[in-house]
């Protein structure tokens, strides 16, 4: 009798322990999918979590994201852990077909098998949702999957992240997250005409196709986009959506909301440690100034005094936690001027994050400023203080009048 009781107690203990372990593993898997920001593409607006259907726009056509819930017919129900790893690692579906690089397997290939398995276990634990794939709208010839074979040969470097023994564990963790699950370079780099991201230099900034926001150079060296940022500034931006150097805008606001604000302080510090060591770049070549740039900037200074200086300061230094500085702000000085134009036209809120839940906002000026005035004020802030970026034209402004979000 006593033995039976002991065995029963042991069993209960084992089961409890096992389910606790499973919960931990699932929590780890969930955390990893958050770092990978899977939901941003795989959860449609007003859709069920991870059930797919959000359309990813590319210059080659639109690609709806597939369903990652364990539904047997329309989701990952029949996938095994090795199939999931193959998708991340090799960019191939479980039937062996090549996936399109709108799915960032070019970065996810760095993910370890253990992390892949944890993410897969988490996805398998979600409620199954029936949500059939919708067809993509890729144009010919891009819709021919067979072309992916040569694309992969040219642009896909398969392989898990290999730690650099000369660097610290923290640096390696940062590099693993940034290069792999974080897939930062998918936006923070230019893409060539075949849609492949530039990897050398790495994270040197680029215009996000179709969405048309400029994702800045992430290096913190003297010629880098984040020149003057400290590691603490990087952590603050990723965790709260704002920093003393600038706020997350456009697509990055969504990344902060859905992904980076949920990262542990250790992981955020690791990311900053890694970014701090990105190699020096050649200075970005700005396109030339318009011949009348100085005059335009002068006109812009008046617009600035009237509409902008109250919050951003005549000195361009912003106001505390509420309003970001414009002097030395990479969103102002990035090479295209598009970010500043879009912010002037659409205004907006910094993301409402757990640690910064009631952000201040900027009014949209689309209805207040003419194309000439908007171009003038953007040209002014790109020239003023320590900023030395090129002028923008009324035509540049016109192009973004009707695209507030673009996300």
């Amino acid at each position: 009798m006593k033995t039976t009781l002991q065995i029963a107690a042991l069993l209960v203990a084992l089961i409890t322990c096992r389910s606790a372990l499973t919960r931990d593993a699932l929590a780890e898997g969930q955390y990893l999918t958050t770092i990978g920001d899977c939901a941003s593409c795989h959860t449609a607006r007003n859709g069920k979590p991870m059930a797919g259907g959000r359309v990813v726009p590319t210059p080659f056509g639109a690609i709806p994201s597939p369903n990652l819930t364990p539904d047997h017919e329309t989701g990952l129900g029949t996938w095994r852990a090795e199939d999931f790893y193959q998708a991340l690692h090799s960019g191939k579906a479980h039937d062996g077909t090549s996936l399109y690089p709108a799915f960032p397997f070019t970065s996810y290939t760095k993910v370890t098998r253990a992390d892949s398995d944890a993410m897969f276990a988490y996805l398998k634990s979600l409620p199954a949702v029936r949500n059939p794939d919708t067809p993509n709208t890729l144009r010919w010839p891009y819709r021919m999957r067979s072309l992916m074979a040569s694309w992969r040969l040219m642009y896909f470097d398969e392989g898990e992240y290999q730690p650099d023994p000369k660097q610290s564990a923290q640096w390696n963790r940062g590099a693993y997250l940034v290069q792999g699950l974080g897939h930062c370079n998918e936006c923070h780099a230019n893409r060539n005409s075949f849609g492949a991201m530039v990897t050398d230099p790495f994270l040197a900034g680029g215009l996000i196709p179709v969405q048309n926001w400029y994702a800045p150079d992430l290096s913190m060296g003297p010629e880098g986009g984040l020149a003057g940022w400290s590691e603490a500034d990087v952590v603050a931006l990723l965790k709260t959506g704002r920093s003393s150097k600038g706020s997350a805008l456009g697509p990055m606001a969504e990344v902060v909301l859905k992904s980076t604000q949920h990262l542990t302080d250790d992981d955020l510090a690791a990311i900053a440690t890694y970014l701090k060591t990105l190699p020096p770049r050649a200075p970005v070549r700005q396109r030339g100034n318009a011949v009348d740039a100085a005059q335009v900037a002068q006109a812009g200074q008046k617009v600035y005094a009237q509409h902008c200086a109250d919050c951003h300061g005549a000195d361009g230094r912003g106001k505390g936690d509420a309003y970001p500085p414009l002097d030395g702000n990479v969103s102002v000085t990035e090479p295209t001027g598009i970010n500043a134009i879009r912010v002037v036209l659409s205004g907006g809120f910094a993301p409402a994050t757990a640690s910064h839940p009631r952000p201040y906002s900027m009014p949209p000026f689309a209805q207040v400023l003419t194309d000439d005035d908007a171009a003038a004020v953007v040209t002014y802030i790109r020239h003023a203080w320590s900023n030395r970026a090129s002028s923008v034209s009324p035509n540049d402004v016109r192009a973004y009048r009707s695209t507030p979000g673009g996300i």
Partner: protein
């Protein structure tokens, strides 16, 4: 003596100037909701009194549940207007709830909007639809849900008086073109699908012509019994 007077003036001036600059620099940003939501105020007015055009609607005094739901519908892509979708995209529910409560609590006079010239027959049709509905077409009276004074019902049903003709007709039209919808079952979509273009004009014009009662406020929760099943009212 004259010289020292000059220096004194100069010193006083310099001091005042420095103090002024310092005050300007040091002026802290007000830690108020009004300051935080300057973006909302720029189109809807600081008190939600509505923009000077017909399309930035009044928010003041609308029930908080209704205002919150509109922001959520813009987030979900159920209601479409690009600048609003962009504006609310990075906000979370507690903050939107606070913003909704702020505008719901504002009491400011209604702006008078012009009523378009309509035939007496059209105005009569508008009045009929608003007050009695059209049983033959399965259209309930607007008043059946929006309250006997058309001032809305707490916490989810908006008032219909004090709105410009262009705004009301554009909203009814947008249900028809699927640029405005809400949680299913979307009873407003059902109602609008049973209206003709002429009906939409008639209803919008008659509503725009109604004077706003002096102490306009939404009726208490539960004071109407909706004739249709509405997702926004809990289905």
């Amino acid at each position: 003596m004259r010289r020292s007077f000059g220096w004194t003036v100069l010193a006083v001036f310099a001091f005042a100037c420095a103090a002024h600059v310092k005050a300007q620099e040091a002026a802290p940003v007000p830690d108020t909701l009004e300051q935080r939501i300057a973006a909302c105020a720029s189109c809807h007015g600081p008190h939600g009194e509505g923009g000077h055009n017909a399309f930035n609607p009044r928010l003041a005094g609308k029930p908080a549940g209704y205002l919150l739901r509109q922001m959520q519908d813009f987030q979900k892509g159920l209601r479409h207007y690009e600048i609003m979708e962009y504006m609310v995209a990075p906000l979370d529910e507690p903050y939107m709830r606070e913003i909704a409560a702020y505008f719901a609590g504002q009491q400011v006079p209604y702006e008078k909007h012009p009523t378009p010239a309509m035939s007496p027959a059209a105005m009569a049709r508008g009045e009929q639809l608003v007050t009695k509905g059209d049983a033959a077409k399965g259209v309930p009276a607007c008043m059946a849900c929006h309250g006997p004074n058309l001032t809305g019902v707490q916490p989810d049903i908006p008032g219909l008086v004090g709105l410009p003709y262009d705004y009301v007709s554009a909203q009814l039209g947008s249900w028809r073109t699927n640029t405005r919808s809400t949680t299913a079952p979307d009873c407003m979509a059902t109602v609008v699908s049973r209206l003709t273009d002429a009906d939409i004009s008639a209803v919008s014009a008659w509503l725009a012509s109604r004077p706003v009662p002096p102490d306009a406020h939404a009726e208490p929760a539960g004071s109407v019994k909706p004739p249709l099943r509405c997702g926004v009212l809990g289905g």
